[in-house]
Assembly symmetry: C2
Homo-oligomer: 319 residues x 2
DNA sequence: ATGACGTCATAAGCTGGCTTTATGAGCCGG
DNA sequence: CCGGCTCATAAAGCCAGCTTATGACGTCAT
């Protein structure tokens, strides 16, 4: 087959939506990663449980779809091309996100009969728990996990009613009747699009200035909004919001598109900061840090799988 | 349909590999996001270009696959359940990774006839460019982009031979014959698994101690290895590596699994830090920061799409 | 009340992609 | 020069998901 047969195409036209028409499916991406690992189509095929011709055809159609040669085939095996190595790394990102999805979904599905029942706040369940569960699975592959997401009160209720083995909450204090240990910190970051004037500042932002500026925020009552309110109450209180949106992602999208500065959990914006779609604005003299704690019924230190999960989240799980 | 009909299953058994058997495909995830946005199966179906029954069936089989109810159907529309909201957020992560994949792949496919030709170093092409291209596409949807990845010399050669319109390099200086501007910083971070003793340190690491410790590293000759070598030469030079691995990802995996401390670009580990699969170890008194620069032929300030891309990466593109 | 419009669900039939099996061709080392 | 590996090609089957057509249910306005 000649490379010239591929349609080069431009990408301006019809580039919106329909992602799955232009991105290979997960099975194909896993296969590609397996090829990268093994240096052989056949071996990769064996790993993912299909036959060699199927793998050959699948890689080939992926190359046709992307318009790029991904592997150099030789009678002695297959190596990634330069472009293939790049594509493989992007593919790995997708697969990792899929692993996190899977870990979360598996936990969510668990029923009462599961062995480890976790109750966690939204932020933790959403951003941190999937990663922890991937690690836990590596360590104790036979642990069945179930997950219940809710606010601190819900978490406490579950734990005290023996409906959960361990909980994770975000907040200023440990709820009554529970013991806990800080496992991470959720710092709220002031962010703006790189084009925003604040992105050019050298000096840290003044709390009063932050308080006086209309921001893109979650609706009143959300966890991050509460923390922000509390932190800025001493500096005149929060100004009227520029936009009030219902989800973290909506806030993120508004900030990225330049609507205005926003305040978001660092956990939610690691990716955007790394790729400079958002810029963090330093703020001085205001405590935007929130403790994330593992919690359990007072006196009942976690044992078994719960302890395993706890030790993954913290080096010294001394409660 | 009764919820009880779903097989609850445990996830310890057969949890390895075969991700695509347990994670819905991209089309289904996009559909779910559309449902979340519109609050209606029919509207979501219209958005993704399928019929309403197809959407209904697809969501239903996704719920069966995950074992969790995702949407509350009512004659007045469909809202996400609590679990559905969580799943949707995890799904969004996958879709975002897929968008980055797509942006990169589209650029890679471009041929000589493309309108904006970018030459970039591996790290930048891999971690930053996809995000920038997503933003660029939002701003100038009809720009066709092509991407060539290579080291600084390759980038310079492309630019000077008028085979690229703009380049991105990482390194200490701007190559001869080029002008450039710093667009970001790539800080090398010392990282270890949370279980590693270093993760418990309060005091920053001493450069000499870092230099004396066997680390998990990329092979000699890689960009990050060079920077590390240079930075530590004043402190006795790098110790014999604990492991020398061929790819960033392999290094990451080794570090996460506790093989030992590693040194990696911050860009590569944002996710692992956020989920605490890795912990960054502060180091004092050593410069592990590397400038990432946009570059162009001396005197020929970028214009048109190249300038558009440049302004996305930096607030003040004054070269 | 009742008809119009919205929602989602069900059923039947088709289509196309991916799979498997079977085979062939190229390269290498004993 | 044969046996081992590699990947490619061809033919046939299966299954998932699509579409079209229809129905049931709830809300709202007349």
């Amino acid at each position: 087959m000649s490379r010239e047969a591929w349609d080069s195409g431009t990408y301006g036209s019809e580039s919106r939506g329909q992602l799955h028409h232009r991105v290979p499916d997960l099975g194909a991406l896993e296969l590609l990663l397996a090829v990268a690992r093994h240096g052989s189509l056949g071996a990769a095929a064996r790993e993912v449980g299909i036959t060699q011709p199927a793998a050959s055809s699948r890689i080939r159609s992926m190359e046709r779809q992307l318009g790029v040669a991904l592997v150099d085939r030789s009678p002695r095996g297959s190596r990634l091309t330069d472009a293939g190595a790049l594509v493989t790394d992007w593919a790995r990102r997708i697969v990792e996100a899929a692993e996190a999805f899977d870990a979360g979904a598996q936990a969510l599905r668990g029923r009462r009969d599961s062995r480890l029942r976790v109750a966690a706040s939204m932020t933790i369940a959403e951003y941190l728990l999937p990663g922890w569960l991937i690690a836990l699975r590596a360590e104790r592959p036979d642990t069945a996990v179930s997950l219940q997401a809710g606010n601190s009160a819900v978490v406490a209720e579950r734990l005290l009613g023996n409906e959960a083995d361990i909980g994770f909450v975000e907040g200023l204090a440990v709820p009554d009747g529970l013991d806990g240990v800080v496992v991470a910190h959720d710092r709220l970051a002031v962010v703006a699009a790189p084009s925003h004037p604040w992105a050019r500042r050298r000096a840290p932002l003044d709390p009063a200035e932050l308080a006086a500026t209309p921001l893109v925020l979650r609706e009143r009552g959300s966890g991050t909004r509460q923390v922000l309110d509390a932190a800025l109450s001493a500096h005149g209180g929060l100004a009227q919001p520029l936009l009030e949106l219902a989800s973290t992602t909506a806030v993120k999208a508004a900030a990225v598109s330049g609507a205005g500065p926003a305040v978001l959990s660092e956990l939610a914006i690691a990716e955007e900061l790394a790729s400079r779609r958002l810029v963090a604005i330093p703020v001085r003299g205001v405590q935007l840090r929130r403790d994330l704690r593992a919690v359990w019924p007072a006196g009942h230190r976690p044992t078994g799988p719960a302890r395993g999960l706890l030790s993954l989240t913290r080096a010294e799980p001394t409660g």
